[in-house]
Symmetry: D2
Subunit: 348 residues, 4 copies
């Protein structure tokens, strides 16, 4: 079987992980690593002796034998790089977030569709065993109706200089939320604070409201002494805690809740004394899940899609939805008001 020839564009923080995973998959052949920083490339040249390291993007785009590119560069460069790659006929795997505006994103989606190329956004967590397990539990209705989604993603650094903390850390949570909840928010509110001259929020709180009182909240920060990666999802039947910092038992399913959510609550003082809501405190189960590295699964899925023409789970449309929520968050951050989520064509 012919190998799929890949070029990795951007060799900063994430690029080496892409190279390692493509290199470990026998279906792929990493032909190029491309980065403007020649020095950074030099020290890695010895590790992968058969890869061509270059600072010349055209070398990749003009190589007719190159099937696909994986883009792991700063967000502001995503749109033009992805567009150039698609127009050169390459399949594209691109880091989150897809790009800076939903209209740019939609344009990329359209180009890929016209040319029948795969456009996959590397929403890596969607390929993480624990998240896939939670999706399965939700599909099986194990949680009942979902009441809330609460995510905390905080640590010290790494301050970005081109995007605020929601575009950096929060994008992960929005991708996960979009995947697990499968609904669009009605309202988006964001508030945050910037402690550096960049004026980019380094602490931000993003709240989204959905129909039927479902509320979602993301706490993202580059200014926390401790690293937290936790998502809590509450349903009428069960609640889930996903703690990605835990070495084992990352998913805990709580058989907990209140017996009757539609409470007819007494209001006089004496009634307040006389009745009691019943809470259900059942067992907790920490199920086993696939522990394969998420990026390895993502890379496999990308190679599958390239081979079969299948639409990726995290396709361009998913990328656009995440970018649209980030745009709305920016509007709210600037205005101090709740904003309505304006769905585009992708949401029909």
């Amino acid at each position: 079987m012919k190998q799929i020839r890949i070029g990795v564009i951007g060799y900063g923080y994430w690029g080496p992980n892409l190279v390692r995973n493509f290199n470990d998959d026998s279906r792929a052949d990493v032909a190029y690593v491309c980065d403007p920083q020649a020095a950074m490339l030099e020290k890695h040249r010895t590790r992968y002796k058969s890869v061509k390291f270059t600072s010349d993007l055209d070398e990749l785009l003009l190589d007719k034998e190159l099937d696909a590119v994986a883009i792991a560069t700063p967000v502001d460069t995503h749109y033009s790089l992805a567009k150039a790659a698609l127009e050169a006929g390459k399949h594209v795997l691109i880091e989150k977030p897809l790009c800076r505006t939903s209209s740019q994103g939609q344009e990329l989606v359209n180009i890929a569709a016209e040319r029948k190329l795969v456009l996959m956004v590397d929403h890596t967590f969607i390929y993480h065993g624990p998240i896939r397990l939670i999706k399965k539990l939700i599909l099986q209705a194990d949680l009942g109706e979902i009441l809330f989604f609460n995510s905390v993603r905080v640590n010290l650094g790494n301050f970005q200089r081109d995007v605020n903390v929601l575009w950096d850390l929060g994008a992960h949570d929005l991708a996960i939320m979009d995947y697990l909840i499968g609904k669009r928010p009605r309202e988006v509110f964001a508030i945050g604070s910037a402690h550096t001259d960049s004026q980019l929020a380094d602490i931000a709180y993003l709240t989204m409201k959905f129909e039927r009182d479902l509320i979602a909240h993301v706490n993202a920060s580059w200014l926390s002494p401790v690293k937290v990666r936790q998502i809590v999802i509450g349903g009428t039947r069960r609640m889930i805690v996903f703690d990605d910092n835990s070495q084992v038992e990352k998913v805990k399913i709580y058989d907990k809740g209140i017996e009757n959510m539609n409470l007819n609550l007494p209001t006089t003082a004496s009634q307040i004394y006389s009745s009691r809501i019943q809470y259900r405190h059942g067992d907790m189960v920490a199920p086993v899940y696939d522990v394969t590295e998420a990026l390895r699964v993502a890379v496999r899925h990308f190679l599958d899609c390239v081979t079969t023409g299948e639409t990726p789970i995290t396709d361009g449309a998913a990328g656009v939805r995440v970018v649209r929520m980030l745009e709305q968050a920016d509007v709210s951050l600037a205005s101090g008001k709740v904003t309505s989520y304006a769905a585009g064509n992708d949401d029909v």
Copy 2:
């Protein structure tokens, strides 16, 4: 020395704790427990054989030998009970929040001042060893300038039927924040969701912005599978995590931060690659603190104030400040907009 005679009004969840702590302090004599629920009193009658259990409030108010009352009833009854007690010449220790409106609260403050009576709000956490230690660290400038205050107080239940989750759980965080930060917010924003017919928010997110980019956030919920009691405070020099669920080492001081908060950040893509912010990762210290039960310390302080005429740390004015923030939060919850914090006379 003559003992201070106390009547405890309200014998639901918190009342028994007040009785136990006053009973254990040799300076106090618990003369009465008063509650409309005769049945509840009956089963406790044997435990404290010298206490008079009654459902008749006037019995307390008309007893000339009764020095003080401790009020632990539903919030809606606070104002009228406290007013009646003060007017009957009794010193008052009252559960948080002080009452339902800041104007009611201010009225209670005025009455107490006129009559030279102690009005102390039971903001219990202010008397908790870990919180007092953190206050001391802040006063010593160990944290540098404070950048953020982030609190999570969530658990399953207990749904209240008269107030939303911010008035119930969030009031603790506002009292702690008011004590530790010592500043008034400029802006208040709250958003939440109600999942029962009561239409009272059971999940709420409250964000406050102060001058100089200080941001505070409170996540309060009655709908969480796990109980969390955690406050993170970040300063330019050090950061603190207070985890009240931890059995030991509730306070952790992190010698962490970023070297230069006023970053002149490069903005071109090539610059983004070439420079790096420096993060400081120093030791963590978990200091010892006083482990005395907070309510015991609060009760002692109340007895001190009654004896000496000293103003309590958590006086009526502190109670009014907390109520005013809760009022602003309610306005924001209803309007979906950031609201300005309107300081009253207490904030001069």
Copy 3:
């Protein structure tokens, strides 16, 4: 119904807990607290106004209306106090360990039997919700055949001056092991170290071997910077971790193991490479359990036994078995050799 009149002998660390729990049970009437230390009693006199505090033991023994005594004094006094109480016709609840020698213990068992009095040892953990749950799981054969029992009970202090750390902390583990495993060890080995002039081991490791390769180990120490209360029990089908320091989820059941315990293992180097044992990694379940205070359950059970004549779960015979293992441990500690467990009449 006539209340059962109780005298509590010994009012040091544990005595107040006994008084509180008997006082909270409507079937009991705490008539006396007896302790040689008059001063210690004085400060508690006000808390329980209807209890008679005395330093005169005979006052209790000669009171014909006194039904039972609870003994919470140093171990060396247990035998003579219990004997005197039984001979005065009182039912006896006595702190662990029952006494200093198994022959003394057997004598107490015999006296109680002759006089048809209840003799119950306060092996408190046997009445602890998590332990009762684990017993139930074992009885249901959920664990399969038990392979090992491993307990760690360490903390800083409290150094005892009359017994070594096994008689103090280890006695709990032996009581739990005796209850859960229900078998007698064949061999006992103990090794330890004493770091004070008392020459009493403050760190000790106790290992017991049972038939069919079941091994039990107790690590007991007064010299640990952290407090640990953990028991791990492994069976062929499931394994359990009981962590009493955890605030919630004290019991975790692991569906883990190795597929075939009777492995026919290859021994040549090439075979070592070529085969692989299969491990089973299934879900973990943290079940709900009764959270009632263990001593409250123990006190209720004692009152039940006094009322009905029923034999306590932790009867004198259970107390003797624990003392016998402690005796064997002392022999091993002194000799540096494994000792055989010599079962007495109680083990028929």
Copy 4:
């Protein structure tokens, strides 16, 4: 500078880590990987395209340009492989434990000394940042006199077929203990249980006593539902907990102890009541430490020693000391008695 040419012998569990770390060090050139299992090698051939994979050991030994070998094969093969390599003039880095008997080990030490070759045992933990930090604290006398060393190293699997669990997991603890304590035990006691037909202990408890009441204990098991990697070291001044499973703060230093270890303890019952030992409960500090991968540091140190002729920290003599303790443990396991540690020439 000429690179040091390395051959890695054994490509099972640990071999790939050796290859990766040597490959990442610019001073080294991994010339060969040698393993009898041709199939296993095949799948890795593509990862390191410049390495020669072979099943023929002689190819390495006869290559005059090969400077050193790293041996990561089953223990039983260590002695003959290391001897052959040393006799072929190669420097040797060898997995722990050095070999099966201390006399074999001493022979290897002698051969290396005669030929002026480096013989380094890969006691990896000695190169682990946290352990090096603890060594520094001990050298600075921060702990005072050491009272105990307690290690727990348990998990589910991997059952070895050639050695018992002490030779596998326990060897790490003995290497760490030897490095940190720097003394030889006077007495060794081991007890364990084998639950498979291999008759090799899969659960074992090893206790060693040193002069001045220092006691060390190792709990090693392949049959635990949870993975634990914890060492507690107690001194008269401070105590340390090293938890290698913690993602951060692996080292915690407790300023705790008892005020006077040479207690003149009262012995009469009334004295037991009247006096109290004082415990010191000070702050806990979790210091920063070097987070470089331990094996990377070990590999660097080996390359340093090969280059300079310096004696490795974990030289052959250290390897012999660990093997000698394991031998004594086996004697004790078989006899059920405490055995005396017989020091050899290396301990003069």
